[in-house]
């Protein structure tokens, strides 16, 4: 057992101003093992990984690889010592070939024999069963392939420890399976893999062992088969099981009987086919369907985010025209975009500035929000939504994913919308924050706000929505409510079996 240990991190300590990010944490990785590193946002996962890859220097503790104590000064240094990382955002050059991406920066020769490189690359890709050619331009490959090329590079650099940081968050099911079989293959070659992810099912599918961190401290190391999923969740968020399951039951989601707030007939846009849709005051409904089924496109059409094609829209029974986002905002509609990095946050601006952004747009240029008012708003929502930030002036880019999401949510809540559209608000964020956001949605609905909710996790949708609109191939194929709201029924409708 002991000689199997590949990597040992002991008593790791690391602090940042105001935060004790890692407190005496141990981590052990064995040869030929897939080890999931789990924890909420702010639990210290990223910090631990960054210490291991030389991005941060630890203050106390020691790292041993195969029994030898090492110190790591930079990511390059880590790579040379056999510790490679594949990040969520691909860190390869899209304008170069696959082969170049695998070998660039590694040998010190002045001139390159690109034919030999491509040949060697093809050999490695073949060996690992990665469906790519060395001569392809990387940017032309799918994200999954790009990730695998990054892995192939690491493997060819004789990495012993491979760190996969949220590798699956932008992959579809088929690609995830491809990645998993590659991971299992590497495992059988004796590589130790540290797998960081938010997807619980994936942890149970591939990992052998789980280490859980919470608030910078080690909760424990478990064999995956011995740790039920519910227990894992409770260890991660440190709440009792009952509290977790109570949320599932407490919401006797009554279908709101109130007036119809928003109504669309034959609404279409450059991206969405014509559809009918309505939502009542205080109702929570959702669009579901597979990726690419048109659910995001439909809600974007409601918000006027794409070029509107046609159709009529009524708000509180009155016909209105919504052709651009600011129209929608003036009518009390808020929209939380799917891709928060691209459509949502402005990373360089502070938490305060990001929060007041939408309100400022609605007020118009000539009614500026005073500094003190803005500060008050920011403080209020940081408290209400439990946003973990050093201060309201911290740039949003330095917050964790879940907290960034809360900032955007605060931005829209500040405008007191009547109707809020949340497109994948819980993607890539931890379980605890997910629950908080779900609770918030239900609370908003109680206060009379209509909410349309989109999530890839059907379970989450079932927990919050009283009505589900199911889409397939860009068409609405069904509407589920009441006792039809269960996993089987949703799956059946998505798949197209008779109801």
């Amino acid at each position: 057992m002991q000689e199997n240990v590949l990597l040992q991190m002991r008593n790791i300590d690391k602090s940042f101003p105001g935060v004790h990010a890692l407190n005496n944490v141990d981590f052990t990785l064995r040869k030929g093992e897939i080890h999931a590193l789990m924890g909420e946002n702010g639990a210290g996962k990223s910090t631990l990984i960054k210490v291991l890859t030389g991005v941060y220097q630890m203050e106390k503790g020691e790292i041993k690889v195969e029994g030898n104590k090492i110190s790591i000064h930079s990511p390059q240094d880590a790579q040379n010592k056999g510790i490679s990382t594949v990040y969520q955002e691909i860190t390869l050059c899209p304008n170069l070939t696959v082969a170049e991406n695998m070998f660039i920066g590694r040998d010190k020769k002045s001139f390159i024999n690109s034919k030999a490189r491509i040949k060697r690359a093809n050999e490695i890709l073949n060996k690992l069963g990665i469906p790519a050619r060395g001569s392809q331009i990387l940017g032309n490959c799918s994200l999954a392939i790009q990730q695998m090329v990054a892995i192939a590079r690491a493997v060819d650099m004789n990495c012993k420890v491979l760190i996969l940081d949220e590798p699956t968050s932008s992959l579809d099911d088929k690609e995830v399976n491809m990645l998993f079989s590659l991971m299992r293959d590497l495992k059988s070659r004796g590589v130790g893999i540290i797998f960081v992810t938010h997807f619980l099912e994936q942890v149970y599918e591939v990992s052998d062992r789980i280490t859980v961190l919470r608030n910078g401290e080690l909760v424990g190391e478990y064999l995956t088969e011995e740790l039920p999923q519910v227990e894992l969740v409770s260890k991660m968020i440190g709440k009792e099981l009952e509290e977790l399951s109570s949320l599932g039951e407490s919401d006797e989601k009554q279908s709101a009987e109130g007036e119809v707030f928003y109504e669309a007939h034959g609404l279409s846009s450059s991206e969405a086919l014509p559809f009918d849709f309505s939502i009542k005051k205080g109702e929570v409904n959702g669009f579901t369907g597979l990726l690419g089924s048109g659910r995001s496109e439909s809600v974007r059409a409601i918000f006027g985010a794409d070029k509107v094609g046609g159709g009529t829209v009524k708000i509180k029974g009155k016909k209105v025209s919504i052709t651009k986002p600011v129209d929608a905002m003036r009518h009390g509609i808020g929209y939380l975009a799917e891709d928060r990095k691209r459509d949502g946050i402005i990373a360089e601006l502070s938490v305060r500035e990001n929060i007041i952004l939408a309100l400022q747009v609605m007020n118009g240029m000539f009614k500026p929000i005073s500094r003190s008012e803005a500060e008050a708003f920011a403080d209020e929502y940081i408290k209400v939504l439990n946003i973990k930030t050093a201060s309201r002036e911290t740039p949003v880019g330095s917050l964790s994913g879940g907290n960034q999401q809360k900032v955007i949510l605060a931005r829209w809540l500040l405008t007191h919308p009547d109707y809020l559209i949340l497109d994948e608000p819980t993607r890539g964020i931890d379980v605890g924050t997910k629950l908080e956001i779900q609770k918030l949605v239900l609370k908003l609905a109680e206060e009379g706000v209509s909410v349309t909710f989109i999530s890839s996790e059907i379970e989450e949708m079932l927990r919050t929505c009283s009505r589900l609109i199911v889409m397939r191939d860009r068409h609405i194929v069904g509407e589920l409510k009441g006792k039809d709201l269960n996993q089987t029924q949703v799956m059946k409708t998505i798949a197209g079996g008779e109801a």
């Binding site: 860190t91 304008n95 920066g105 331009i137």
Partner: protein
């Protein structure tokens, strides 16, 4: 199986696609000029004239292409060229040593490259600002050296003019029956050598590929173990060196130093690179494309002059038009590609 895989033809890269477009447009344009204007355009000397007049522009454009592929910009190249011309002429007039003058040219170019490259790469200052300062500095220095034009002695000029490569079989038969050979100045040979050398560097050199890497994605390049700062530094050093060579070639062509020499050359060089398919955003480009970019730009000017629009602003207007046309074409072509990929 792996053999079959190797035989798969890859689609053209963005770089290759943009370059091919430029070359095609150049050929079509030149062909049309031959049909419509005949005369000079039917003689090979026309191409050689364009090359003779623009050898230094080609050299400078090569340097700029390197910098732009790395995601930077250098607008000091024209001013440095001008400073080199003035310095070399005055130096030669004092010492009479052409070899030392050539070394001086290279030295000045390298000095600008080293200093600007260091400021940009190691102190992380915006390249536009640094090279703007470099531009003003070089122009100022040129004027300090001499406000009045400085000329090489007539006999040296004659000697320089004598170093020409004559190619009889590309010449034409004059009215009196004599064969007038096509003439190519030595500067053109230098320019072509530079194009080939830079091509080889960019295509097969580790350093060259690293330029593409830092221009494509700087963070990734860093993660891939490339010394980003050193690579960026080298792009400016090479660009500076080529500005020095360009100045010397310029001097051999005109034989005189003048404070207004090479005015606007940096903008012509940027235009040449862009027309040749180099993207300002970095990571895409090719020096062969740049070569044809310069030819395209200057052939258009020739055509404008031939059609009787002699006023200088017509050339500016057509240059502007060309640039717009190519940028539009590139964004349409690349945009459609990106859509297809989806």
């Amino acid at each position: 199986m792996s053999k079959a895989k190797l035989k798969v033809r890859e689609p053209l890269t963005d770089t290759q696609l943009l370059m091919t477009i430029t070359i095609c447009i150049f050929i079509v344009m030149y062909g049309l000029a031959m049909l419509i204007f005949g005369g000079g355009f039917l003689r090979t000397q026309q191409i050689f004239d364009i090359l003779n007049d623009n050898a230094s522009l080609i050299i400078v454009s090569c340097g700029l292409t390197i910098v732009m592929i790395g995601g930077g910009i250098d607008i000091s190249v024209g001013a440095v060229t001008s400073l080199v011309v003035m310095s070399c002429v005055m130096f030669y007039n004092r010492t009479g040593n052409m070899v030392l003058a050539a070394l001086l040219a290279i030295g000045i170019g390298l000095a600008f490259g080293l200093i600007q490259g260091a400021l940009i790469s190691f102190l992380d200052i915006q390249p536009f600002i640094v090279t703007l300062a470099g531009m003003f500095f070089a122009r100022g220095m040129t004027t300090i050296l001499s406000v009045n034009p400085q000329k090489l002695p007539t006999e040296t000029m004659d000697k320089l003019a004598g170093i020409k490569i004559e190619i009889p079989w590309l010449g034409y038969v004059a009215n009196n029956g004599n064969v007038i050979p096509a003439r190519m100045e030595i500067g053109v040979v230098v320019a072509l050598l530079v194009v080939i050398a830079v091509f080889v560097l960019l295509q097969f050199g580790s350093l060259g590929r690293n330029f593409y890497a830092i221009g494509g994605n700087q963070t990734s390049a860093l993660m891939l173990g490339i010394n980003v700062k050193k690579t960026r530094f080298m792009s400016y050093v090479i660009c500076g060196l080529l500005s020095g060579i360009s100045g010397f070639v310029f001097m051999m062509h005109t034989g005189a130093g003048n404070a207004t020499n090479a005015a606007g050359m940096e903008m012509n060089a940027i235009a040449s690179s862009i027309i040749g398919g180099t993207l300002l955003t970095g990571g895409v480009g090719n020096v062969i494309g740049t070569f044809f970019g310069t030819l395209t730009l200057k052939t258009i000017s020739k055509i404008v002059v031939t059609s009787g629009l002699n006023d200088p602003w017509w050339q500016s207007i057509t240059t502007g038009g060309m640039l717009c046309f190519f940028i539009l074409l590139q964004s349409i072509v690349l945009g459609r590609r990106a859509k297809k990929k989806k």
